[in-house]
């Protein structure tokens, strides 16, 4: 089942920041990681990831640096302290949202 674009759009930043909590990654790896962790539910149009990464960097939630790995130059993104705090807040917000949606759906099913 496919998830609507609108639903993904609002949570992409959170997904990106969450995977960057584990380690510094470059764009391609971020997409792969999100696909892997979501068991291929979240498949992003790859070009759309970069505006999100640059916007987060502009807000000082991410820092970037260039590094060579496997003979290729890649731009790595690192979650800043401010980014970690924002991720935590967004995760809490999401959990509340998700639990509340579940509750509403559960009660609707009971009727």
């Amino acid at each position: 089942m496919k998830i609507s674009k609108e639903l993904i759009k609002g949570s992409t930043s959170l997904l990106v920041m969450s995977v960057l909590k584990q380690e510094d990654m470059y764009g391609y790896k971020i997409i792969k990681e999100i696909e892997k962790l979501s068991e291929d539910v979240f498949v992003l149009k790859e070009g759309t990831l970069y505006p999100i990464l640059h916007a987060l960097e502009n807000e000082n939630l991410l820092e970037s640096y260039w590094q060579e790995s496997d003979g290729r130059k890649r731009k790595y993104y690192h979650l800043t302290k401010k980014g970690v705090q924002r991720t935590k807040a967004k995760e809490d917000e999401w959990k509340l949202f998700s639990t509340s949606v579940d509750k509403v759906l559960a009660s609707a099913v009971a009727y």
Binding site: E46, Y50, E63, Y65, W66, Q67, R72, K75
Partner: protein, 498 residues
């Protein structure tokens, strides 16, 4: 790499610096994706086609990226706020340049009183510099860093960082010679309390600090540049991250220590002011009440027993009618005692040393006048000469004004600006007694930064004319000081020193 997606995106992104980095980043992504498709069996051409398709619409990527990177530096409020703050701080250091600079080697008469607030002003300037620099690094704002680079050089040029290092050295001095905040308070009142062995490191320390700050800025600019151009640079950042963190820790420790020292010093300043005022009155009274013609040994003995002061001998080069000069120093008060061995004549002067630029350490406002205070007497005076003072130092040129031949005499009691002066009564009494003071000598016009009360004048024919001269420091004037010369209770001369 020749890829249509990358070409379209870079065409739509207008920022030249961002173009290169975005292109490199997208290229790296597409190459990774091509590798992926090649590994699962696609041909190279097919792999590139699929990788490009996976990127989606070039407009969806380029338009938001262009929005993020198209901000012009002059359209960003943050840049203007930073530039205005830095310009304001530089103007402040420029206006108070003389206060920020403790180097007095070029002017032997200048006594720089340490202005404690400048220690902190200087430190705040430096801390703010690093705060803005760190912020600019995070936001990759080259314009701010360039502004900071210009600022730190300009501030150093005006000596704006010197007080901070003075305070640092003073702190080190206290730590190494035992903690004594009294030394710190004393340094507020008189430059000579700065330990000389520390003084020589002052300029070196400030220059080193500026060099480090400039280097730091250059590192940041290069770092931002390499980021923008998509060059690898993590290792490049390491040395300056170490410098940054070390500086932050040292500044933090120093801030806390200086805060404690300053708080203690502030509590002691009023007491010290009262003490100095008391000494000053004691010494001026001593001089004004002295009997002209007193035997020199007797006079010196009295200074020692009554004021507990010991003299320091000074060579008398350039003053042909004085054989010996002795100075008695206590805080910012200097008593000068001159003697002529052949004639056994003495002259005594109290030099009340204050610094016109440092109100903080101002001891007595009586010695300060505005140029306009002389307005009521200027009509009766005419400028007769423009000459150098006795020592011929370029900063000691004076305008000499004398009473006009046909003008009404100006008596000391009629000078309005003297009416409220603490010493008026004393000076008046002295003028009256000076009519018999035929053994008094002139004070040597050491008036640059001093308030002087002197007795006696000598003419070109070595004839002694009793006089009283009083020097005031001028505020808000092109002249530094004004010396009034009274003979027989009448104003004879007004010397305005440049």
């Amino acid at each position: 790499m020749d890829n249509t997606f990358i070409q379209k995106v870079t065409m739509l992104v207008k920022n030249k610096n961002a173009k290169a980095a975005i292109s490199a980043e997208l290229e790296s992504h597409i190459l990774d994706k091509i590798d992926f498709y090649t590994e699962i069996g696609y041909s190279k051409e097919e792999a590139e086609k699929k990788a490009t398709e996976d990127m989606g619409s070039a407009e969806d990527t380029a338009i938001p990226l262009n929005g993020i990177h198209s901000q012009r530096w002059y359209k960003q409020t943050e840049n203007w706020v930073t530039i205005i703050i830095l310009a304001a701080m530089w103007v402040v250091t420029f206006i108070f340049k003389n206060n920020f600079t403790y180097d007095t080697a070029s002017n032997i008469y200048s006594v720089t009183v340490h202005y404690i607030t400048l220690d902190f002003a200087s430190l705040v300037i430096f801390a703010l510099f690093f705060f803005i620099l760190c912020h600019a690094r995070r936001t990759k704002n080259k314009i701010t860093v360039i502004a900071l680079l210009v600022f730190i050089i300009a501030v150093n040029f005006t000596g704006g960082l010197q007080p901070m290092f003075y305070a640092v050295l003073q702190t080190i001095s206290m730590l190494t010679s035992g903690y004594d905040v009294g030394g710190y308070i004393d340094s507020i009142f008189q430059y000579s309390y700065v330990p000389s062995y520390l003084g020589k490191y002052l300029s070196l320390a400030a220059a080193t600090l500026t060099a480090l700050a400039v280097l730091y800025c250059v590192f940041v600019i290069l770092g931002i540049y390499t980021q923008e151009c998509g060059k690898t640079g993590k290792s490049f950042w390491k040395p300056y991250i170490i410098i940054q963190r070390t500086a932050a820790v040292l500044l933090g420790i120093y801030f806390i220590f200086m805060a404690i020292c300053t708080a203690i010093a502030y509590t002691g300043i009023e007491t010290q002011k009262e003490k100095i005022n008391s000494f000053k009155k004691q010494e001026i009274d001593f001089i004004l009440n002295s009997e002209p013609g007193t035997d020199s040994q007797e006079y010196m003995g009295k200074i020692y027993t009554e004021l507990q002061l010991t003299p320091s001998y000074c060579e008398t080069s350039g003053i042909d009618y004085v054989d010996n000069i002795y100075y008695f120093n206590r805080y910012n008060i200097t008593m000068c005692y001159m003697e002529n061995q052949n004639d056994h004549k003495v002259q005594y002067t109290a030099l009340i040393v204050t610094n016109p630029l440092t109100d903080f350490a101002l001891i007595n406002n009586d010695l300060y006048l505005e140029e306009s205070d002389f307005a009521d007497i200027m009509d009766s005076l005419e400028c007769v000469n423009y000459t150098a003072a006795d020592d011929n130092s370029p900063e000691s040129y004076v305008d000499i004004w004398q009473t006009k031949y046909d003008s009404v005499p100006i008596y000391i009691d009629s000078c309005k600006f003297l009416q409220d002066n603490y010493y008026l009564d004393k000076i008046s009494a002295l003028i009256k007694s000076s009519s018999s003071a035929d053994s008094s000598y002139s004070s040597n016009a050491l008036s640059e930064n001093f308030g002087t009360v002197g007795v006696g004048i000598i003419t070109d024919n070595s004839e002694i004319i009793p006089d009283v001269r009083v020097t005031f420091i001028l505020k808000n004037s092109k002249y530094k000081s004004a010396t009034l010369l009274f003979i027989d209770n009448k104003l004879e001369q007004l010397q305005l020193s440049v």
